[in-house]
């Protein structure tokens, strides 16, 4: 145990170092070539560590306001999806669950679609569009609906929860299709948003999603042990002294807040919340305390580099939706994991 605790701490330290280096590295990569010295200086000046005026205006804006904010946003959202995925898989006791299983993403997409259709896509407040706001409201609304529908005789049951999630998601998808059919002009905006992207996102989006992200993390991270026990089934969890309803509700709300925070600013980005917890469970085991921590760090790294690929792969300067990149990489990778599995996935 002491040895595995050391491995745990060492893993965290290593991944944290890699994360910091990745943030710096990804900030240096882009269409406009900027020398590394200038990148470092610009970050320093942006953070107020070095006096103003040491870097020219253009590289300062590009490095600090455009790239760094986007890199950090992608890392945070990847972390949110990684943690949310590990929680959903545990609570629903289904290793194939992901942050979108119970309809949170459909709610967000409906909110965004509504905003586009109402022509609010362009309006903004303090540089923040109405899209994230409506997407967040949609996500939380969908969650509330699922939790209300999933209750049977006052108890939040796993199977009814999944069913309620499917019902809500299907219904909302139909509404989105309806909006698309009625408003052809909004179609391309909706489609692009649903594929997920960080294009044009900045510090304001970091600030917008951070409270939900922090609250979500706070709710789930302390429940690692309860989550372990919940995977043994409700009956055993009660007999071991877990307040099943309270813990389950707390975990669901926390993980949904994480998902909502991510989806509302970036659209629907698949596979990170599914593949990353899987990979961690196969290598680190099923204990959720470490599963959540590593899924967060690895999820952040995965999405950060996926976004770098999304904005640099096409030579003409156009961007790919990052959701397309994660799906293209994540899909085959997931198949590989399934083929090579040892103890990672048990389906029966």
């Amino acid at each position: 145990m002491a040895a595995s605790r050391r491995a745990f701490v060492l893993g965290i330290v290593l991944l944290t170092i890699v994360s910091v280096l990745s943030v710096l590295g990804a900030t240096g990569i882009g269409r406009l070539e900027i020398p590394w010295g200038t990148v470092i200086a610009a970050i320093g000046e942006g953070l107020g560590l070095s006096p103003t005026g040491s870097v020219e205006r253009t590289p300062l804006v590009v490095v600090f306001d455009i790239r760094l904010s986007r890199v950090i946003l992608s890392f945070l959202m990847g972390a949110a999806l990684g943690v949310a995925g590990s929680v959903f898989q545990g609570v629903l006791r289904n290793p194939l669950a992901d942050p979108f299983t119970i309809g949170v993403a459909s709610g967000a997409a409906f909110g965004a679609a509504l905003a586009f259709a109402l022509g609010w896509g362009g309006t903004s407040y303090l540089g923040l569009g109405t899209i994230p706001l409506l997407a967040l409201m949609g996500a939380l609304g969908a969650l509330a609906l699922v939790v209300i529908l999933g209750r049977v005789q006052g108890r939040l049951r796993r199977d009814t929860l999944v069913l309620a999630g499917i019902v809500v998601a299907t219904f909302l998808s139909a509404l989105i299709a309806l909006i698309k059919a009625l408003d052809e002009e909004a179609v391309s905006a909706i489609v692009f948003w649903v594929m997920g992207s960080f294009q044009g996102r900045g510090w304001i989006h970091v600030g917008f999603s951070l409270p939900y992200l922090l609250l979500g993390m706070y709710l789930v991270v302390k429940c690692g042990r309860e989550l372990d026990i919940l995977t043994m089934g409700e009956l055993q969890a009660r007999q071991l002294g877990v307040e099943v309803e309270r813990v389950r509700r707390r975990l669901l709300v926390g993980a949904s807040l994480l998902t909502a925070a991510a989806v509302s600013v970036s659209g629907v980005i698949g596979f990170v919340g599914l593949v990353v917890p899987h990979l961690v469970r196969m290598t680190m085991g099923a204990a959720h305390q470490r599963l959540m921590v590593f899924s967060g760090l690895l999820g952040g790294l995965a999405l950060l580099w996926s976004d770098v690929a999304a904005r640099t792969l096409l030579s003409g300067g156009e961007e790919l939706p990052v959701g397309v990149v994660t799906a293209l990489v994540g899909g085959p990778f997931f198949c590989l994991l399934l083929k090579r599995k040892r103890g990672g996935i048990i389906l029966d």
């Binding site: 042990r225 071991l240 469970r281 085991g285 099923a286």
Partner: protein, 264 residues
């Protein structure tokens, strides 16, 4: 230690337990017997507050069951369930450590004491060598012993066992019941739902027979484990003989006998 008064339980409209009354004192090792569907599992689930009471009262250590918080109840009552639902690849030691949950406060690592108790429980159930293996990769009988270890690590005075040894081979069955007897002599109280009549007769001092959701017979093993009672309750022809070594009553079943002849 457990007082049950007028206990009834329902699943939907179906009545499963009807007006049960009994008392189990501290230090007893009681076998809970009865045919399939007689309500044994439901009774144990009522006692561990998983299934809600429809009517009646249950008190554990003189305190009403409804007054216990989940964690408080887990400190005095440990359960071994009939069916295991394992879907994630935990190491066996991690599973046993889950039994320490009611003793732990808030977030943090397992203490050295938790680990020591878990290892001791694994030692007792002969599962120590499985500690680092994944529970999804061991046999059903081994997993069952790991779950028994988890219940022991919980350190509760009352153990509710639901077919806890049903999946075990004969040697391990005896080994587990020798262990329960030993824990019983040290003051532990056991209520064991069982199908193995002879195992029950060998180890339990008292038997409670359920039938159709009611207590049918309740008393010391020597008085209740009779041909008449067994034939009536199980609706099968049974001969009872004496165990050549211990003198405990043992049941032999008669093949081809007319079923239900003694029943209704």
């Amino acid at each position: 230690m457990i007082s049950v008064e007028g206990l009834s339980a329902k699943y939907g409209d179906r009545i499963v337990l009807q007006g049960l009354d009994f008392h189990v004192g501290e230090g007893e090792l009681v076998g809970l017997l009865g045919p399939n569907g007689s309500g044994k599992t439901t009774l144990l689930l009522c006692l561990s507050k998983v299934v809600a009471l429809h009517a009646g009262k249950v008190a554990v250590f003189g305190r009403e069951l409804s007054a216990y918080r989940a964690r408080e109840l887990a400190l005095v009552e440990a359960s071994v369930p009939q069916r295991l639902e394992i879907s994630f690849p935990f190491k066996c030691i991690e599973v046993v450590l889950m039994g320490r949950y009611p003793h732990q406060r808030e977030f943090g690592d397992d203490s050295d004491e938790d680990l020591a108790k878990a290892m001791e429980a694994m030692q007792l159930t002969d599962t120590l060598e499985l500690a680092q293996r994944r529970i999804t990769e061991i046999s059903g009988g081994e997993a069952q012993r790991v779950i028994i270890a988890r219940a022991l690590a919980q350190e509760a005075k009352l153990m509710l066992l639901d077919e806890a040894t049903a999946n075990l081979d004969v040697a391990h069955k005896m080994e587990m019941f020798d262990l329960f007897s030993q824990k019983n002599e040290q003051g532990g109280t056991f209520l064991c739902a069982m199908h193995d009549l002879n195992l029950a007769a060998l180890y339990c001092q008292r038997l409670i027979f359920l039938k159709n959701g009611r207590v049918s017979v309740d008393g010391p093993t020597t008085e209740t484990f009779t041909e008449e009672n067994l034939s009536n309750i199980y609706e099968a022809e049974v001969k009872v003989i004496e165990h050549p070594d211990t003198g405990a009553p043992q049941a032999l079943f008669v093949p081809g006998a007319e079923r239900g002849a003694h029943g209704a």
